[in-house]
């Protein structure tokens, strides 16, 4: 399942997005670092899966890349050009290259527009409206031609997500940000949409930034994976590296927390149950931000923030002082 072409499409460098949050009581404000120095690259035709729990900044990252949020600092380079400094006119060209599909297919389609108008809208805005193109898009997401004259209310969740995908692909983008695009769907429908996304990628050489909290789906669709925690990427590598030999304790805990749909394996593997909740993002812990919940934390973790490093030199990066694959399962549970 090699990527169709290996040219670098997107490069994100040290991207930061800080929000001002007023303090409880209304006096003064504090700074929330939703993105705290995020860097990664994405090739054409490739899928990067972005995982993490709620509040880790994965959606903010997608939105900042798309220009829906203004970045505080850093660079977003699409085909070598920095989107954060380009002129407005050029920006519009770049936006044609980047499209988005959101989670909720009930909220992201205008209920008063026909399906035809919904898919035609991006074409009209860019002055390239073509009736044939709209019908072609309908067909390529597996909807019947007579759907064109109907409105969103007549469609189920899975079908609406097909419409949202057709709209996103109408301008022939190079990159599609899929922000929890299959999360709201039932499994049987989710499988249909995942298969559709994979076949569209093969046909059109699309690159996906696939943002999701469901690790099984991310594993299924991604070529490479990045794991986020409190605004930072804590581990990244190929799909098999991250899912096979996770190096960061957070990734290891995340993977072990996913229920396995096989009763025969019940109790075979030891589950790492993390203590506590995500720390308050307004007051992140000193040193390593994961140390408060980490089963490997030592004294150094409170003082020194670990860099995202490629210890083995194989493109598998982890931000941990003690990064190492999990030892083979033993009979002893983890001791905190």
């Amino acid at each position: 399942m090699a990527a169709a072409n290996h040219r670098e499409l997107l490069r994100v460098e040290d991207l930061r997005k800080h929000f001002r949050v007023s303090k409880v009581g209304g006096w003064g404000s504090s700074q929330l670092r939703a993105l705290d120095g995020v860097s990664f690259t994405l090739d054409g035709g490739e899928t990067l899966g972005l995982v993490g729990e709620s509040g880790c900044g994965k959606s903010t990252l997608g939105r900042t890349i798309l220009g829906l949020h203004d970045a505080t600092s850093g660079q977003v380079l699409l085909k070598g050009e920095n989107l954060l400094t380009t002129r407005i006119g050029r920006k519009r060209q770049h936006r044609r290259d980047m499209q988005v599909v959101f989670q909720d297919p009930y909220a992201s389609l205008d209920p008063r527009m026909t399906i035809f108008e919904i898919i035609a809208e991006p074409l009209r805005i860019n002055g390239v409206f073509d009736r044939e193109r709209v019908m072609e898009m309908l067909a390529c997401v597996g909807l019947r031609p007579d759907s064109a004259i109907r409105r969103p209310a007549e469609f189920s969740g899975g079908q609406r997500q097909r419409i949202a995908i057709a709209r996103a692909l109408a301008l022939d983008p190079a990159l599609v940000v899929l922000d929890e695009a299959v999360s709201a769907l039932d499994v049987s429908i989710q499988a249909q949409i995942v298969n559709l996304l994979k076949s569209l990628q093969r046909e059109r050489g699309l690159a996906y930034l696939f943002i999701a909290h469901d690790l099984s789906v991310v594993r299924h669709i991604s070529h490479r994976v990045a794991v986020m925690y409190l605004g930072k990427i804590v581990e990244t590598g190929t799909r098999d590296q991250v899912f096979g030999t996770a190096l960061h304790p957070y990734t290891q805990a995340l993977l072990s927390a996913v229920p396995v749909p096989d009763p025969a394996r019940r109790g075979r593997e030891h589950r790492i149950v993390l203590k506590g909740d995500l720390p308050n993002p307004l007051e992140p812990p000193s040193g390593c931000s994961f140390r408060t919940r980490c089963f490997k934390a030592r004294e150094i973790c409170t003082r020194v923030e670990p860099p995202l490093a490629d210890d083995a030199g194989i493109g598998h990066l982890a931000a941990c002082h003690f990064s190492a694959p999990l030892a083979a399962p033993t009979d002893k549970p983890f001791v905190y």
Binding site: M1, P261, P263
Partner: protein, 348 residues
């Protein structure tokens, strides 16, 4: 299995709702039993009627819906026949409930401790204030809320999602229920918090001996926590079996499709099997077998389109399947699922 072992017995439950289109049957003849100390899983996709079935059992149906037939026998009493006042004595007492969204299930303007205390006081009106308070602190300790004395005085917004769900569980356990109904208890939570809550539920059940019905769409959770499972679709149970049998040799074509459409963390990839079509519209339920329009096994056979299959015992013990051709399922599944991998190889 003796009858004294039965905690809950639901017989031919029918729930109807009055909608603008007329009367619609949301649950169509559902029967199952929950035994002592058992975890019974109910899986299904949205609209399958799994949550409505639970609301009917608890007597919490929305005003436009009602139980139109059947029995709900809980510890020897038919809940379907009780009036609201009698139901209130059962709910939250021997029948505990945990819902999906802990934010909307808690009252935002009442302190968490007071809300848990209320659950106790309703059923023990004469318990002294200090006794109630002691019991609440004890419950918060049981659900592993740190600093229970301090947490007692806090409001729900000061609790994280996981902590709120712990408070909800404390409330459900307040009167040592015989049966816990947990409807998607971890769906709104992150996976690491889900692991905490499921572990907690297992440990409190071990301590109190309560049975549990776990309603979920997550087949992973079902595989890991339940003893027996019912698969619901279009308001009916299509298959019911012990969890090991169900995952190993699913007998209903829908169960086969559901299990195969799941992307797994450890399995090889390829195209996922996907059940063709859309879930049924309950306002216009298909004739005969409710799954027949999407079924790969029916092959246009008239029986499927005309006659509703009954949930009948198959060859193996304790398994019930509602399919006319359940005997053919394993063979069909082998061919259908293999075909898909072949197709995928051709496309690649």
């Amino acid at each position: 299995m003796s009858d004294s072992d039965l905690v809950l017995s639901v017989r031919d439950l029918i729930v109807e709702a009055a909608l603008a289109e007329g009367t619609v049957r949301l649950v169509d003849g559902v029967s199952f039993e929950v035994r002592a100390h058992e975890v019974f899983g109910v899986v299904g996709e949205s609209g399958s009627g799994k949550s409505i079935t639970m609301l009917a059992i608890m007597g919490l149906l929305p005003p436009n819906a009602r139980i139109a037939g059947g029995q709900v026998v809980f510890m020897g009493r038919d809940l379907a026949k009780l009036n609201e006042k009698e139901l209130q004595q059962v709910r939250g007492n021997k029948l505990g409930m945990i819902f999906q969204d802990p934010m909307t299930s808690l009252n935002p303007v009442l302190r968490v401790g007071k809300q848990i205390a209320e659950a106790i006081r309703i059923h023990h009106p004469r318990m002294p204030e200090t006794g109630v308070r002691r019991r609440v602190i004890e419950l918060l300790e049981l659900v592993e809320v740190p600093n229970p004395e301090q947490r007692y005085r806090q409001f729900p917004h000061e609790f994280s999602g996981g902590m709120r769900q712990r408070a909800m569980i404390a409330m459900a356990l307040a009167n040592e229920p015989a049966l816990l109904i947990a409807d998607e208890p971890t769906t709104a939570l992150d996976v690491t918090i889900q692991a905490q809550i499921m572990e907690l539920l297992a440990s409190v059940r071990a301590r109190t001996g309560a049975s549990m019905i776990l309603v979920t769409h997550d087949l992973g959770l079902v595989a890991e926590t339940t003893d027996r499972v019912a698969v619901m679709y279009g308001g009916r149970i299509l298959e019911m079996a012990c969890v090991h049998d169900l995952f190993e040799i699913p007998r209903h074509p829908y169960t086969v499709g559901l299990l195969n459409s799941l992307p797994e963390l450890h399995s090889e990839d390829g195209a996922l099997y996907s059940i063709p079509g859309q879930p049924p519209d309950i306002r216009d339920r298909p004739s005969g077998c409710v799954f027949h329009p999407r079924c790969g096994l029916q092959q246009g056979r008239a029986l499927c389109a005309h006659t509703q299959p009954t949930l009948a015992a198959g060859r193996s013990v304790g398994r019930l399947v509602a399919c006319h051709f359940a005997e053919e399922t394993p063979q069909w599944a082998a061919v259908a699922m293999k075909m898909d991998t072949v197709l995928e190889k051709e496309n690649a």
